[in-house]
């Protein structure tokens, strides 16, 4: 990639951020149309897109955004009021901006005319609304420029030579002036004679002060009241706003102190900023704040950092092991310190690599807004847990399935207003998007209070499609499971199964790709819940180290219920791999079977670990439990994705590797082995 392409890519990336910000502000603005801060935010985002676009050769983008910006400039200056028409217009404009970012200046004829008509739309909007609100511009404008009522004064203070005789200290006077507001002082020293002629009790110096204050001119005069008649004093108002920070003034002051010439009133008046300049500066100040609060680092660098830190942690545990074995207290102390530091470093590095779900939520809100408008449905979209953090790759792969799920909610879940009223529900539908941590997992639930899914319809359809035999008895859970079968539903048959199941197999596959799982629960007439369970693959897990044959494995502690010794007697009474624990029948598996190790001899001692995910329980038989172990889970890479039992690997202190067992997959392995419904499905999805 050559340099300019790099810059372009960077610009596109930054613009996407700006667009996200824009959308967010716009959604907020829709509920709070008077909010000046939001309008500023929108304007700023547009301005950066426009500016950057022109710089990196996205000329159409720049032109297009310019028109939009003009509208918002008018909104900002209160010439136009925000209304829903404007917001809808802006949303559609944002889509076009994204298109332009993607394809640059190469547009087809149709697209071009689409853009031109959009621009024409802006212009007519501008004309239609511009006349509305002209009367109070003037006053509002002033307020905007000068919110605190500050004025600027030029004070020229030329004391007579005898000033010091009365014991007056001119510096105290200057201090008093400074206390009134913000001030800059220039001292003129041109009258100071050579050292031979210098009389130490004579005041040679004189001053000019630029003062910005909300106090009246009389307050300033009061400062000098005791030197009245002993000095030449001029106080003139130069501006209606603070000019202290003006760069022009700074220049002027520098010049004055080097040339030792008094500032004239006109010179200072020229430093007054135009409102545009003031706004520009405000913008710059805000932009600066943003830069300090966060920095942009390429994800590649973060990945590298995480890898390095993991390596450090492993090396550190080797050091600890060494220190322990050598009984050298000095090394042991150092090793302990390094252990502490590397643990902190590791936590930090992992924290950096996680990003909050928030970053993607805007797209969901947008989708819900657009679709509900389109279908004339009134929908409350409630988001809980937007601060939940997930690994970057997980979030990237999660967006599409979630968009699909939300689309289903709106298209098929939530009924029309009339239908809802007829069913005795509130006309306003609700979609709840909820994310929370549950042990080593993050759960995302999308629930709606729509019409739900009728299990009978699914059954009929499954029979018709030949997936199951007629009269098969299936649990509700198993019926919903059918929805994930590939080829179960196509678009043509959307309506007769309430639409759910459209591409659900794709959703499941995508989520499985990030080692997650998805399930549906629904009650006819009341609504549907889609739950997505996700691991934090990259994060550290608290694990239980167990041994099976010669190998060590790690089980996530969060999924473990109890551990007990699996005595021979207890297993003997079991039938069909089920044990009874506290009067509960629990299926179990022997890891030696699953991992195809040599069979356990009768004398060998073994332990059973009871794991649970959701409401499912499973006993796992392992040779022995070694102990608790905190570890970094490393991905196995693409070639080992398909094995299905382990979710990653962990490197032990001595450099050897232990597999991290994926408990929810173990549970599924068991479930699918036994499940009758599954066998009846002709083309099982793997």
């Amino acid at each position: 990639m050559d340099k300019i392409d790099q810059f372009k890519a960077k610009f596109v990336e930054e613009s996407m951020d700006n667009i996200r910000d824009l959308e967010e502000a716009l959604l907020l603005l829709e509920n709070d149309m008077e909010n000046q801060e939001l309008i500023e935010r929108i304007f700023r985002a547009m301005h950066s897109i426009k500016g950057g676009g022109a710089m990196f050769g996205f000329n159409r983008l720049s032109e297009f955004t310019h028109h939009l910006e003009t509208i918002y400039d008018n909104v900002r200056n209160k010439k136009i009021n925000v209304n829903s028409e404007l917001i809808t217009l802006t949303f559609s404009a944002i889509d076009r901006i994204m298109h332009l970012l993607k394809f640059g200046d190469n547009l087809s004829k149709n697209e071009l005319s689409d853009f031109n008509s959009a621009i024409a739309g802006f212009e007519s909007f501008l004309k239609g609304n511009a006349s509305e609100k002209k009367t109070n511009i003037q006053t509002k404008n002033e307020e905007l420029v000068n919110p605190e009522g500050e004025k600027s004064y030029l004070i020229t203070f030329i004391p007579q030579a005898e000033l010091l005789d009365n014991g007056t200290n001119p510096f105290l006077l200057l201090d008093d002036v400074h206390a009134l507001g913000k001030a800059v002082t220039v001292a003129f020293t041109s009258k100071i004679p050579d050292i031979d002629n210098l009389k130490p009790d004579t005041c040679y110096t004189f001053w000019q002060i630029i003062l910005s204050t909300a106090q009246s001119i009389n307050e300033i005069k009061e400062v000098f009241i005791f030197v009245d008649g002993e000095c030449e004093l001029h106080i003139d108002q130069v501006a209606d706003a603070s000019i202290i920070n003006s760069p022009k003034l700074k220049e002027l002051l520098d010049k004055a102190s080097t040339t030792n010439t008094l500032l004239t009133l006109n010179e200072v008046k020229n430093c007054v900023e135009t409102p545009e300049e003031a706004a520009e500066k405000k913008k710059a100040a805000v932009a600066k704040e943003h830069k300090i609060s966060s920095i942009r680092v390429s994800s590649h660098k973060v990945d590298e950092l995480v890898t390095l830190v993991s390596e450090l942690v492993i090396t550190q545990s080797q050091l600890s092991l060494f220190a322990e074995n050598n009984n050298d207290t000095t090394i042991a102390a150092i090793a302990e310190n390094i252990q502490k530091l590397s643990r902190q470093l590791r936590d930090n590095a992992f924290d950096i690599s996680l990003i909050p779900l928030q970053s993607e939520l805007m797209r969901f809100q947008r989708l819900v807004r657009d679709l509900s408008k389109e279908q004339n449905k009134d929908i409350d979209f409630i988001i809980e847990g937007s601060d939940i953090e997930l690994d970057k790759t997980i979030i990237e792969n999660l967006t599409d399935p979630l968009l699909h799920i939300l689309r289903n909610c709106i298209d098929h879940g939530i009924e029309s207003k009339e239908e809802r009223i007829a069913a005795g529900k509130s006309p306003k539908g609700t979609i709840l998007f909820k994310a929370y941590n549950s042990g080593a997992n993050v759960i995302i639930e999308v629930s709606d209070d729509g019409r739900g899914i009728d299990p009978d319809i699914i059954m009929n359809k499954a029979v018709k499609k030949g997936f199951i035999k007629p009269n098969t008895q299936l649990a509700k859970e198993e019926i919903f499971e059918l929805l994930f079968t590939s080829g179960f539903s196509t678009r043509e048959t959307v309506s007769d199964i309430s639409g759910r199941g459209v591409g659900m197999d794709v959703v499941r596959r995508k989520i499985a790709g990030i080692r997650g799982d998805v399930s549906i629960d629904s009650e006819k007439g009341k609504g549907t819940i889609m739950s997505i369970r996700l691991p934090f693959t990259l994060s550290i897990i608290d694990g239980l180290l167990i041994k099976v044959a010669a190998n060590h494995y790690v089980l996530p502690i969060s999924s473990i219920e109890t551990i007990f010794s699996a005595e021979k007697g207890r297993k003997d009474t079991s039938f069909n791999y089920v044990v009874t624990i506290n009067n509960e029948q629990i299926p179990y598996i022997d890891l030696r079977d699953i991992f195809k190790e040599a069979e356990r001899t009768d004398e060998e001692y073994s332990q059973m670990i009871l794991i649970r995910t959701d409401d499912k329980k499973l006993g796992i038989i392992a040779d022995s439990v070694v102990g608790e172990y905190q570890t970094v889970v490393k991905p196995l890479g693409r070639f080992l994705e398909k094995q299905g039992y382990v979710s990653g690997a962990s490197i032990m202190g001595d450099g050897t590797i232990s597999m991290v067992i994926d408990t929810s997959r173990l549970l599924n392995a068991r479930r699918f082995k036994k499940e009758t419904a599954r066998e009846m499905i002709k083309n099982p999805v793997v």
Binding site: F595, K596, P635, G637, T656, I657
Partner: protein
């Protein structure tokens, strides 16, 4: 990459044959570690994973890929870490009987590989060259990683 031309190859021995891979895609050559951790539910040729500088790297047994017998571990046995692209995701190691040498090749010396037997899983090669009176078959690494992937 503008051309797919291979200029330098690393040759190695599996049983009685000499094979080679594009040297540019070789990341490291390692001694066989004491333990290669088995991954459950994987094909036989997937020996397991090793810890390579803190990364988990799967290792496949070239002898099994070539459908040869495997004997005891010997001193000469080595693992070549292959890095087809910069992505750590698709890095893998191949277990070979012995590393032979690094050879500069001329494109015109590269002849189409004639598959002399039906033995082995690999049926696509980059080509074959005659070097010091032996044939060296250059393995198509893309093809190999596809085999492992399935």
């Amino acid at each position: 990459m503008e051309t797919n031309q291979i200029n330098t190859i690393l040759s190695f021995i599996v049983k009685d044959n000499i094979f080679a891979v594009d040297a540019l895609q070789v990341l490291h050559i390692l001694e066989v570690p004491d333990v290669i951790t088995k991954v459950p539910n994987t094909p036989d040729y997937m020996i397991g994973v090793i810890n390579h500088h803190g990364n988990i790297v799967p290792v496949v047994d070239m002898r099994l890929i070539m459908e040869e017998e495997i004997g005891e571990k010997e001193k000469n046995h080595s693992i070549i870490i292959i890095n087809p692209s910069d992505s750590q995701e698709i890095r893998f190691g191949i277990y070979v009987d012995m590393i032979s040498e690094v050879i500069e090749i001329k494109p015109e010396d590269l002849k189409e590989t004639v598959l002399d037997s039906k033995k082995g899983m690999i049926d696509s090669y980059e080509g074959t060259i005659l070097h010091k009176n032996t044939f060296i078959h250059i393995i198509d690494l893309k093809h190999l990683s596809q085999i492992i992937d399935n």
